[in-house]
């Protein structure tokens, strides 16, 4: 095996809702700078796993390490400040702010400037926000109210908000959900461009393996909360268990 630094390690991570186990003994090691796809059908536990990673949910058992630190029990705002940000599956923006203000708020938040009740955002942050909007392709919309944007543009804004603080690890929960095949292809290209330019670690979830096949270096297949397979795309794709449990199921 090649020696790489682990950006994120998950050991025996479990989350139960009552008697139901949504995430079951998940082990996962994400190397620095890789694109990891977590794939699985609806209800597999992808969002729950993400919620555990970002501190929106507490683990029933197991451990999460970010860099060298255990982050179990840390709150979402702390993890954001530690360089772990997230784009949600259902768009989570500030609807009555302008597009630009949305990104400025994200920049202010992670840099802990929001308790300054006298200071304005400042030129540097405003400019950085514009650069990110430009990167995701919605710069022209900067002065529009975020809530009235088209679905695709709101998804781009969701990405911009997560991306703006220059995270070490970016979590994207079904970034192409609700998109047409054309839009999906464009956002896959956008993600590849972002990854190449910013050199960050990306963990994304997806229910369609074909979408991430050319994008991810590592794929974790999740079924009923359990890891069914883990490895390089070609490896995962030819795994007989994956074929029967996941790919086969979808074709039927």
């Amino acid at each position: 095996m090649i020696e790489t630094t682990a950006a994120l390690t998950v050991n025996g991570l479990t989350r139960r809702f009552g008697a139901f186990t949504a995430v079951d003994q998940v082990d996962m090691t994400v190397s620095e700078g890789e694109i990891r796809a977590v794939i699985g059908p609806n209800g597999a536990g992808k969002t729950t796993l993400f919620n555990l990673l970002t501190g929106n949910l507490r683990a029933t058992a197991g451990e999460i390490h970010l860099g060298g630190n255990t982050i179990n029990g840390k709150r979402p705002h702390e993890l954001a400040q530690h360089g772990l940000t997230r784009a949600f599956q259902t768009t989570n923006i500030f609807p009555s702010m302008t597009v630009h203000e949305n990104v400025v708020t994200a920049l202010l938040g992670v840099s802990r400037r929001t308790l300054r009740f006298w200071a304005l955002a400042g030129e540097r942050i405003e400019k950085r926000a514009d650069e990110v909007l430009d990167l995701v392709g919605i710069y022209e919309q900067r002065n529009r109210q975020a809530g009235i944007l088209a679905h695709g543009d709101q998804r781009a804004l969701e990405l911009a908000i997560a991306l703006a603080p220059s995270p070490k690890i970016l979590l994207l929960d079904e970034p192409t959900a609700g998109m047409s095949p054309y839009e999906t292809q464009r956002s896959v290209e956008l993600l590849r461009k972002i990854w190449r330019e910013l050199k960050l670690t990306i963990i994304l979830s997806e229910h369609d393996m074909d979408v991430v096949f050319g994008l991810a270096q590592q794929i974790t297949v999740l079924v009923s909360g359990r890891v069914l397979a883990d490895g390089a795309p070609t490896q995962v794709r030819s795994n007989p268990e994956v074929i029967s449990a996941y790919l086969g199921g979808e074709d039927a």
Binding site: N92, S96, T105, A106, L120, Y139, P165
Partner: protein
């Protein structure tokens, strides 16, 4: 294809809107400042009440409307500011010392209430603030020797320079205006953006690193400071205090004013204060049931027009502007913005 960030930078339309708001606010301030020259003594007194309650309502709305924190206990800080100033001044503390110290004392109490109450859910928070309000009233009532109990403290002396009709009026107006401006600045600051973010989407706010609890505590302290200052101004023009200042109905009034004037606009609650006290003063002359009428008016407003009086005005202006814009376009203007 991709726009250059520097060359395509457009002036936000917000700027132009802000300028017209500033013009209206300054004009209103000048008209108000003329009060002592044209109004009878009793009308001046009514107007001072309106101004002080306007500040009280604007500060309360900073929590209720802007931060989404339903506080029913703002009278605690209004009353605490007023009582602290009154007690300091009647015990020989110099005017300016009391004037500065009292709002900060109110802010300190606000910090305590916030740290305790904000740990609970939204509903319990609202109930707890109401509870603190009642507690403050009872304490004040019980400390008869100190606070004068139900009688309150009459005949408070203020410096001669501020006791003339004109000077008193202009001083209260100026301080209220400066405080309102300062609070507006806070609203526009990085902190203000975070408060708005939390109100609109707490999940997203947390996910970008905003610690909701401390932001709400700070918002509560700032609102407490300004409510305390409004209380001090109350003593400056009334020169007396009574425990009704601490009553829970006094906590409800700025919330009603905010709803009446429009919680979505910064100065909506100030306009609400003028409407509310006008109604109280004039409708109150004809019927003792006037709170019922105000209650009914607020209820109808909330159902029919939730954006309040100022929101309604803004919408009306927007409609007129659109009509004019449409006409211009017919005349050959071409593209719309």
């Amino acid at each position: 294809m991709q726009p250059d960030v520097r060359t395509t930078l457009v002036t936000p339309p917000r700027r132009t809107r802000n300028i017209s708001i500033v013009v209206v606010a300054v004009a209103a301030l000048i008209v108000l400042a003329l009060g002592p020259l044209v109004l009878s003594a009793s009308l001046q007194f009514l107007m001072l009440t309106m101004i002080v309650y306007a500040l009280f309502a604007v500060a309360t709305n900073f929590l209720v409307g802007f931060s989404g924190l339903l506080s029913f206990g703002q009278a605690v800080f209004f009353g605490f500011g007023a009582y602290t100033a009154a007690l300091l001044w009647t015990h020989g503390v110099p005017f300016w010392v009391g004037f500065i110290a009292a709002p900060f004392m109110a802010a300190l109490v606000a910090a305590f209430v916030a740290v305790v109450s904000l740990r609970t859910s939204r509903l319990y928070f609202a109930l707890l603030t109401l509870g603190f309000s009642q507690l403050a009233y009872e304490i004040c009532d019980a400390l008869y020797n100190f606070t004068g109990g139900e009688t309150g403290i009459p005949g408070i002396n203020i410096p001669n320079a501020l006791s003339g009709n004109m000077a008193n009026f202009e001083f209260v107006l100026l301080v209220a205006a400066v405080a309102a401006l300062a609070l507006y600045w806070v609203r526009r600051s990085s902190f203000g953006m975070a408060l708005q973010a939390i109100r609109e989407n707490p999940t997203r706010a947390e996910a970008v690193g905003i610690h909701i609890y401390w932001h709400h505590v700070l918002a509560y302290v700032i609102a407490g400071l300004v409510c305390g200052l409004a209380g001090v101004l109350y003593v400056v023009y009334q020169q007396q205090v009574s425990p009704s200042l601490l009553d829970w109905t006094t906590s409800g009034e700025p919330v009603l004013m905010a709803v009446l004037g429009g919680m979505g606009m910064y100065l909506g609650p100030a306009v609400g204060s003028f409407i509310y006290l006008f109604l109280q003063n004039y409708v109150g002359q004809f019927t003792v049931q006037w709170p019922l009428l105000v209650g009914a008016a607020v209820l109808i407003l909330v159902i029919v027009y939730p954006r309040g009086f100022v929101g309604g005005l803004a919408d009306a202006f927007g409609w007129i502007r659109r009509r004019l814009g449409a006409r211009e376009m017919v005349a050959g203007e071409g593209s719309s913005p």
